[in-house]
């Protein structure tokens, strides 16, 4: 499954491997509020505790902030993306999180952010948004059709909570990843932060872990029954002499991973390319030794993001070389 040649960019080795990603269901929600700060408060709350579907039910993150002219009600807003393993679970997470984190947040309103006419991701179905939350209105709620969109107006103590009745969902891609192997913690953090910053400039993707970075990369399975995932011992620097699976050389002192979810495989690929460019831009001189990726042998996920293919266009801007 590996490419025979090795690739170096700015002294950083790009492993001849690939990230393996999976189909997910996703949606974009647009949260607006009286001020950008309150919209962000709701967005941060809604996307909290949403790092991994393994334990959180969904993976979510802030996609970008929106100017007033970009939102349905002409107020400042924030676009968030939510990913789950099934339509049913996604719908459950949307209703629960919007109900507890947006309905409760002063001045906010929430709308579906997937446009059926322009979405490049295949449409999946419609998840309940206001159609369930409206019952909080205790009979005082009002429905309103404007054009082809139904909104709900739920009386709350600062006025009305306005939300779209449903949100379109799409068939998306989750689990794109980069593994950054560095000389030490400082170098690994710097490379990760640069990569995440580059990815966050792109639309349609999120990096759901804290700060976009995860240190507890996992492998499938465990020695303990009942645990579906466990630490990725192949990349743990304390296990270089213990684990037979270790992939670390003696000079690697810290490894961090970035997980990317996107609305399409092209979005995930573009984000990974941007991350490789930003991290490799720091290069070996800054302590970034290798960029690798996690996969399961290609047997589980239908989306394979080969690092050499993604980085093929990057070598021109750096001191890149094939060996």
């Amino acid at each position: 499954m590996s490419d025979p040649a090795t690739l170096q960019i700015n002294g950083t080795t790009i492993d001849a491997t690939f990230a393996e990603a999976f189909p997910m269901k996703a949606t974009r929600l647009v949260i607006t509020a009286h001020t950008p700060a309150w919209a962000m408060n709701a967005a941060i709350s809604l996307t909290g505790f949403a790092t991994s579907v393994i334990g959180c039910g969904c993976e979510a993150g802030v996609e970008r902030t929106l100017a007033a002219r970009e939102t349905p009600d002409g107020r400042p807003g924030v676009a968030v993306l939510l990913f789950a393993v099934s339509s049913k679970e996604l719908a459950r997470q949307i209703e629960r999180r919007v109900g507890q984190c947006v309905l409760t947040c002063p001045t906010t309103a929430v709308y579906g952010g997937i446009d059926a006419g322009t979405s490049r991701a295949p449409l999946s179905d419609r998840a309940s948004l206001g159609s369930g939350l409206r019952f909080f209105g205790d009979g005082w709620q009002i429905s309103k059709m404007l054009g082809n969109t139904r909104y709900w107006r739920v009386p709350v103590m600062d006025g009305e909570f306005v939300c779209e009745e449903t949100a379109l969902t799409v068939k998306a891609v989750g689990g794109g990843n980069l593994i950054l192997l560095a000389h030490d913690i400082d170098a690994a953090l710097a490379a990760s932060e640069a990569a995440v910053a580059a990815m966050r400039r792109l639309p349609n993707v999120i990096t759901p872990f804290p700060g976009g970075v995860v240190r507890s990369g996992s492998k499938v399975g465990s020695k303990y029954p009942g645990a579906s995932a466990s630490t990725n011992d192949a990349f743990c620097p304390t296990l270089t002499g213990l684990s037979a699976r270790s992939e670390l050389s003696a000079e690697v002192g810290c490894v961090l991973e970035i997980v990317i979810d996107g609305l399409t495989d092209a979005d995930v690929g573009a984000a990974m390319t941007a991350g490789i460019a930003a991290a490799a831009g720091l290069g070996r001189a800054a302590g970034l030794l290798r960029i690798s990726a996690g996969n399961y042998g290609g047997k589980l996920g239908p989306y394979h993001f080969h690092l050499h293919s993604l980085a093929a266009g990057l070598t021109a801007g750096f001191d890149g070389s094939h060996a």
């Binding site: 607006t32 349905p72 009600d73 002409g74 107020r75 309103a109 005082w140 009002i142 429905s143 309103k144 059709m145 404007l146 054009g147 909104y151 107006r153 600062d158 006025g159 009305e160 306005v162």
Partner: protein, 281 residues
């Protein structure tokens, strides 16, 4: 091919005619001779299209793969003896130069119907979707329900540039009705839901029995219905959505801005009481 069919009235029949068969998409599949042979019901009488209209069609190249979906039909020299113009229309574009009779756009389910003149009673009655524009005045029961039916208009947009008669949007459930002039008595009566905008004055008993929905008034009414109450504050977000949705409609509705919040009244408390009158001034 982009198709345009023109029917010019040459000999008025002398009685009222049911013109509901004159729809752009079905006629787009016919030759001129076939169109001329269409029989139009007229009560106990009937007439042949070719006896009443001068029929012509032009086919011009277009990129569309669905040649008839965008078909346009024009009726010239129309007069109020033409009833049911655009009735049950589902697609295409129908332009009428002149006035029409009753039931224009009756149960219309799609497409665009433009009438450059006045319309009779029951315009857009039980309309379901599409867009109907009347450049002149309209009679009674526009966007309403047939006698005995439970629901009036349930979707689409009706724009009347002039005045509307009595019982505007009676039992309307969904959709948008905009009147550039005045409305007669019982406007928005028994309204189930939907949005109605009236730029001019409203007659007596407006919003009578209004259960839900929104009545937009561009001028303060002479009196408020006794069964309406002060409607509170804090509906800024909804107002922002509504104003934006009216941006491409007729004035004065298109000129409203989010910054100036209207006065809101809630009712009709004699029924469900979740309707609202928004007075923009």
């Amino acid at each position: 091919m982009s198709l345009r069919i023109t029917l010019r009235v040459k000999t008025p029949p002398g009685f009222r005619v049911d013109a509901s068969a004159l729809l752009p998409v079905p006629l787009a599949t016919m030759t001129t001779a076939e169109i001329e042979r269409i029989v139009l019901p007229a009560g106990n009488d009937r007439c042949i299209v070719g006896d009443v209209f001068e029929v012509s069609r032009s086919d011009t190249p277009a990129a569309s793969d669905a040649p008839h979906a965008g078909a346009t039909m024009v009726i010239e020299n129309a007069a109020p003896w033409l009833d049911r113009i655009g009735a049950r229309m589902t697609d295409g574009r129908l332009v009428v130069h002149g006035s029409t009779g009753d039931y224009s756009g009756f149960q219309m389910a799609g497409g665009v119907l433009r009438i450059d003149g006045d319309t009779g009673h029951f315009t857009a009655c039980e309309m379901r979707s599409g867009r109907l524009t009347v450049s002149g005045h309209s009679g009674d029961f526009a966007a309403g329900a047939l006698a005995g039916d439970m629901e009036g208009m349930t979707g689409g947009t009706l724009t009347i540039h002039g005045n509307a008669g009595a019982r505007l949007a009676d039992r309307m459930r969904r959709g948008l009705v905009l009147v550039g002039g005045n409305a007669g008595d019982f406007a928005a009566s028994r309204l189930v839901a939907g949005t109605i905008g009236i730029a001019g004055q409203v007659g007596a008993h407006y919003a009578y029995g209004m259960r839900r929905g929104t009545l937009l008034l561009a001028h303060p009414p002479r009196h408020l219905p006794a069964t309406f109450t002060e409607g509170g504050r804090g509906f800024d977000v909804f107002w922002g959505l509504l104003v934006r949705s009216l941006a491409n409609e007729i004035a004065p509705f298109s000129q409203w801005r989010t910054a100036s919040l209207p006065t809101r009244y809630a009712g009709d408390l004699a029924v469900d009481g979740r309707g609202e009158i928004l007075v923009v001034s």
